[in-house]
Amino acid sequence: MKIAKRVEQLAPSGIRAFFDLVLGMKDVISLGVGEPDFITPWQIREKAISSLEKGYTSYTSNKGMPELRREINTFLGQRYGLSYDYNEEILITVGVSEGLDLAFRAILNPGDKVLIHDPCYVSYAPVVTLAGGEAVMIKTDLSTGFKLTPKVIEAYCTKGVKALMINYPCNPTGTSYTKKELQAIAQIVHKHDLIVISDEVYDELTYDFDHTPFASLKGMKERTIYLNGFSKAYAMTGFRLGWAAGPAEIIAGMTKIHQYTMLCASITAQMAALEALKTGFKDIAIMKREYHRRRNYIVGALNDLGLPCHMPQGAFYVFPSIKKTGMKSMDFAKGLLQSQKVALVPGSAFGENLDDFIRISYASSYDNLKEAIARIKEYLKENRHGKKTKR
């Protein structure tokens, strides 16, 4: 039995075997987790429970509960001065992951190109491919703190480029952009008539400046598919809830696909999300302060260990270089796991050209981070001797 060519051709995930290795091991300190270490705040969980008790167990409107869409719109207005028609321009999705899939399927014709910064989250390129498009990766590096610059984007704006995919704060690099930097990018977007798909799921975790939604920039709302969700800000990953806001025409297209493939997001999750928007701000503030301190600590500690690491502006990831060790990222990660029981994600998981990097998630308690740093130090010492003989 043969599977479809486009699926067969998706890059196989060599990382799967490593993940299985980690999952099979006990007492591992994990810096490899892509979700908050906080539990969903109690009032949000309580709301989900009580909605079940009251019998809210049905489908909702395809687009999602109107109350939730309205609340999202109100929130965007208060927070960022953005205003959408919540009936026509907002769609509730099953996480940002579904939003991405819908966005690409709604806008891409066969062969349309999508520019994506590299490194980026693992799903972007495959989802573009599955939607019949062509992912064009724009390499960024440590020298710019993995930032896209207008100049570089413009160099890639050739015939057939329809959209720019941007994620900030970024998984895996933690990189984000100031309003000024985004404005410069917006000019290129305008000049080349691109659609922007902006994944801003880590927006609440921005530490050094205020987050600016791409859609809030002048002239960008009508060409931006703004994706966000509840997973990171409210520690609600397991609820699988996100939303997309954008031009009515595109949202209508996305809704068509959504209604045939997903029908609607879970009503329990939507109920919980409504509570999150109303009362979750206090919890966000506490989480953010905590992550901010951990970021400062881990970046300082890694640089002290001689693993060069830029200061990420957001999310809960750091992306240090391990070039000095002379090891490939997978070997580094496997060795660290086996010798010191510390798990992290090798850079190669995010692309072949990222073999000199590792992704460390600081969504782990401070005590864990401290212990992990001590173990990495030990591991580096072990390998300082091995390196010479190896190479």
Binding site: S30, G32, V33, E35, D37, V122, R289, A343, Y366
Partner: protein
């Protein structure tokens, strides 16, 4: 609240050097700031938070919340009587509150008798104390923001994108 205070209030073992890393300041400045907080009484002391139920084998004790009605005195109000009460070492906490009674006094003792004796012989007989009502504490669920039950570790995957 100053970052330093928030960090220490949550975990007093974090060293000045570590706080310096977390806040991107100099360790010497952190040390100086902590010294200042200690000197001016902002930081009163450092101690471990214990689940006293677990120490029972080592030294049993009971705790009671006592509502105390007192007659306010001219000029000083409740303060003098309060001072006479909170100076006893048996008293671990003492609050002036609004409502049906005046002072909420928390008392600890080796057993129910020591606490009862304290209430009978020291507290209720004190001048200015009109009435007391003692509630022995049966079980602690949460204290100072800390849930005392050890929660099962979460089922978060050890690795994910």
């Amino acid at each position: 609240m100053d970052d330093i205070l928030e960090i220490l209030a949550n975990d007093a073992r974090v060293t000045p050097h570590e706080i310096a890393k977390m806040t991107r300041r100099k360790a010497a400045d952190i040390k100086k700031a902590i010294k200042k907080y200690e000197d001016d009484g902002t930081i009163i002391k450092y101690k471990a938070v214990l689940d006293l139920d677990k120490t029972r084998g080592q030294s049993s004790f009971v705790r009671a919340l006592i509502e105390v009605n007192i007659t306010p005195q001219k000029d000083v109000g409740f303060d003098n009587v309060a001072e006479r009460i909170y100076s006893f070492t048996e008293v671990t906490s003492c609050y002036l509150v609004s409502g049906a009674y005046d002072l909420l006094v928390i008392v600890e003792g080796a057993n129910i008798h020591t606490v009862s004796n304290f209430v009978a012989s020291k507290l209720s007989s004190m001048e200015g104390v009109q009435r007391t009502s003692t509630h022995f504490l049966l079980k602690k669920y949460k204290e100072d923001g800390q849930i005392l039950k050890k929660v099962n570790s979460r089922k978060r995957l050890a690795i994910s994108y």
